[in-house]
């Protein structure tokens, strides 16, 4: 066989493309789901949260979360009037901190508050599914990763249980499963969202305070919401690219 240089230059890239498609293998199992068409996140509307704990219970039921550990939990903040009047001080007073409670992660709700003064609000917390997540960067074996559709997942058959990721997460969203001895965390109900369902916490939320959002879907109402509301993420200074968006978040929330 005698190949000219011209033929060679055409054949080589063609072979490279063919080899790439061989490497890519068969498409994924969910037939109507294409990972590259999604970029998942969550919207949490603080003024709508009533602190019922439905999301925490639903998450435990859906994902078999062991007692005492949480993939999502709810915190109740209380900023006293006294503290709020001091807010205008020129130098921040480190002693002024809100009272934060989260009895059993808020699973059974919260004790009734009788002190009418000050400002109360509930902050549901969960994995922020960061686009530049610190937890996936520290894994020594490649057991935790950001999926092509933007969900931070743990490969529990590959995890060693070294807990580096538990320490690396600035939001405290990971734990070591007491029986499996591997890292466990919110999967954004990956087994549900790939089937076209919403997450268990969103399904169970009675007020719509939690909403699953797909940032790659141009029809998703999140785009309009982000433009018209004061939306923040937790710890923006850490540049984690968090994708859990909080509407009307109080500045005292950490």
């Amino acid at each position: 066989m005698n190949l000219s240089r011209r033929q060679m230059l055409i054949l080589l890239p063609a072979a490279a493309v063919a080899w790439k498609s061989v490497l890519a293998g068969t498409p994924e199992s969910s037939p109507n789901y294409t990972m590259s068409e999604h970029w998942w996140g969550m919207l949490i509307d603080i003024p709508k949260c009533i602190g019922c704990g439905n999301c925490v219970r639903a998450c435990q039921a859906e994902n078999d979360v062991p007692d005492g550990h949480f993939r999502t939990w709810v915190e109740r903040y209380h900023r006293s009037d006294w503290e709020m009047t001091r807010e205008g001080d020129v130098t921040p007073n480190p002693l002024i901190v809100p009272e934060v409670i989260s009895p059993d992660g808020g699973k059974e709700g919260f004790p009734a508050a009788t002190d009418e003064s000050g400002k109360y609000f509930f902050v549901p917390k969960m994995c922020n599914h960061c686009a530049d997540s610190p937890c996936t960067q520290v894994c020594p074996v490649g057991a935790t990763f950001i999926s092509p559709d933007g969900v931070v997942l743990v490969d529990q058959t590959y995890c060693l249980g070294c807990a580096y990721c538990v320490q690396a997460c600035p939001y405290g969203c990971r734990y070591i499963h007491p029986e499996k001895q591997v890292a466990d965390k919110c999967t954004l109900c990956y087994h549900r969202i790939t089937k076209g369902l919403t997450t268990a916490c969103c399904e169970a939320c009675p007020t719509g305070a939690r909403q699953l959002v797909d940032l790659k879907d141009p029809k998703d109402p999140i785009h309009e919401f982000l433009k018209t509301h004061s939306v923040q993420v937790l710890k923006p200074q850490m540049a984690t690219g968090a994708k859990v968006f909080y509407n009307d978040l109080d500045g005292s929330v950490r």
Binding site: A24, G25, E28, S29, S30, M35, P47, K48, I50, G51, C52, G53, N54, A58, A61, E62, R76, H78, G109, F110, A112, A113, T114, D115, E116, Y120, F121, F122, G142, A143, T144, F145, I146, S147, P148, L153, D155, T157, Y158, T187, Y190, H191, R192, T194, K195, L197, T198, A200, E203, A204, C205, P206, T207, G208
Partner: protein, 168 residues
Amino acid sequence: MSTFKEAGHLFRFAGLFVLAFLVFLVVRHFVVPKSFGEYGHYRGAAIGEIAARPVHFAGHAACESCHTDIADTKHAGKHAGVNCEACHGPLAKHADDPTAMTPVKPDTAVLCVRCHAASAARPKDFPQIAADHSNGLACETCHNPHSPGMDATPAAPAKKTASAGGAK
């Protein structure tokens, strides 16, 4: 040729390196999972395994495909935005095969107060009920949980449960 003869020990040493590299390749072939590196520095097949976990909450669309009457009542009332399984719990088993599992009716004494018990911490515009509101009567004596406003009459099942509650 004499130069190569003197360098024989170097070739043996190089051979050792080649052998070690081949052993490394063979071991790597068996130790590293097939799908590792498919999308990045992780096992690509893990995504499919996580996606294949069982679903427990069927989703309100599944409920409403059969229970259309209750869905209509609910959508007309104040609980229109509350999904079925928010109160009834995870019922994917029932949705897959209605005969396999019959849902247990939630106890309104526990259920309603989770959201509606009065607390200064809840948003001010959210309906809140003081502890002495009903004098110990069950919520559903007066309110239909699927459409709780007082202008709506309590649904027939409420009476049924009231008698069942008395029998207990």
